[in-house]
């Protein structure tokens, strides 16, 4: 079965007034919003700017706002947005400079991630039969030394958490949920006290964990269950504990 939907897409080019264009598209019943955007580009307007790559929530490239909420359109089914023929509104992420239409400049996100000094990779998941290989059987005895440095990440660096964060909206110097979650993961996995101290100092900055005002929007919006808000709370706990230790060590 095919679905007929209307997309209302934000349009913008530098030095021109912003506007919204509507496109009527027909997509298969199982289509995602990204498929509908591609239809609009293919059938109606080849000037439409949007980004995508993997089509399966691995790259985080296509993040936009659908009806006001941050989503990855590659995994957002069109049928979830069918509301009596009302158009589906698609806008770029908030809190990033807009390059054009749905494309934002996410450099700020990567700069924040880079500050924590780590590389992001994804975790392996259980196999389809629910089994998980015991890596110590494959790598022993070297695995004992490897394990602390072999933790993987869920974050796809889509920028959705920065867009959803109300603190970020009011203060673009804020380190942001993705960066702070990255710090927490690094703190968690390092055994080096100096590296740990450096990371906690970074999180303890004026623009770090204390700038967060606990709206939990980042965790609500995250498409990958990274749970940045919980990571921020964990950092607060660790920083507070460190301060108490310093206080009583005097």
């Amino acid at each position: 079965m095919a679905l007929n939907v209307t997309l209302k897409i934000f349009r913008y080019r530098p030095n021109q007034p912003a506007r919204c264009d509507t496109f009527d598209v027909t997509v298969p019943d199982a289509a995602n919003v990204l498929d509908a955007i591609e239809q609009a580009w293919d059938k109606h307007d080849r000037d439409l700017m949007f980004r995508h790559a993997c089509h399966h929530a691995s790259c985080g490239t296509c993040a936009v706002r659908i009806n006001g909420r941050e989503k990855l359109p590659c995994i957002a089914p069109v049928r979830d947005y069918l509301d009596g023929g009302k158009p589906i509104t698609i806008e770029p992420l908030r809190n990033f400079p807009i390059v054009g239409d749905l494309v934002v400049d996410v450099t700020g996100l990567f700069q924040r991630q880079e500050a924590t000094g780590f590389v992001i990779t994804r975790p392996t998941e259980d196999s389809l039969d629910g089994k998980r290989v015991d890596h110590t059987q494959c790598l022993a005895p070297a695995s004992a030394a490897i394990v602390p440095f072999n933790r993987f990440e869920n974050c796809v660096e889509c920028g959705i958490c920065l867009s959803a964060c109300p603190t970020m909206a009011a203060d673009d110097k804020f380190f942001g949920p993705a960066g702070l979650a990255a710090i927490q993961r690094e703190v968690d996995k390092t055994d080096d006290p100096n590296a740990r101290a450096r990371l906690l100092d970074l999180a303890d900055d004026e623009q770090g964990v204390w700038r967060c005002h606990s709206a939990w929007e980042c965790t609500e919006a995250c498409p990958q269950n990274v749970n940045p808000a919980e990571a921020i709370m964990d950092l607060r706990k660790q920083i507070t504990a460190r301060r108490f230790k310093k206080l009583f060590a005097r």
């Binding site: 912003a18 807009i98 009011a170 606990s214 709206a215 808000a229 607060r236």
Partner: protein, 130 residues
Amino acid sequence: MNLSLPENKRLRFLRWFDFRSGRLGMIAYILNRVTAIGLVVYLYLHLAVLSILAGGPAQWDAFVQIARSPLFLTLDVILLAGILIHGLNGLRIALTGFGVGVRGQKPLFVAFMLVAAVALIAGALKIFAG
């Protein structure tokens, strides 16, 4: 090159009140801001009211008469609501910051707001009972 839409930076704080997500955390966030601004305004108002004392007993007695009016008592109830919401929501934020109730921050907010509602009703009855 300026890529982003032109915007008035002085009005960026209005994004605090962007209610589009409608989620519980955002409701708590907005409530905390609204009540905080209200309490700051009240603080200055309170100082201004106290300055009436400098005008002598007659002026103060006249003010007390106004303070007993239903309108003024309603403002007292609004003030109490602000104190309860801001205080209890702040306690929730402090608790989660210490790692307490992080996974249950939503039920924690609902529970604290229920406590606030009960205390507000009791307080309002007390205020209007004189």
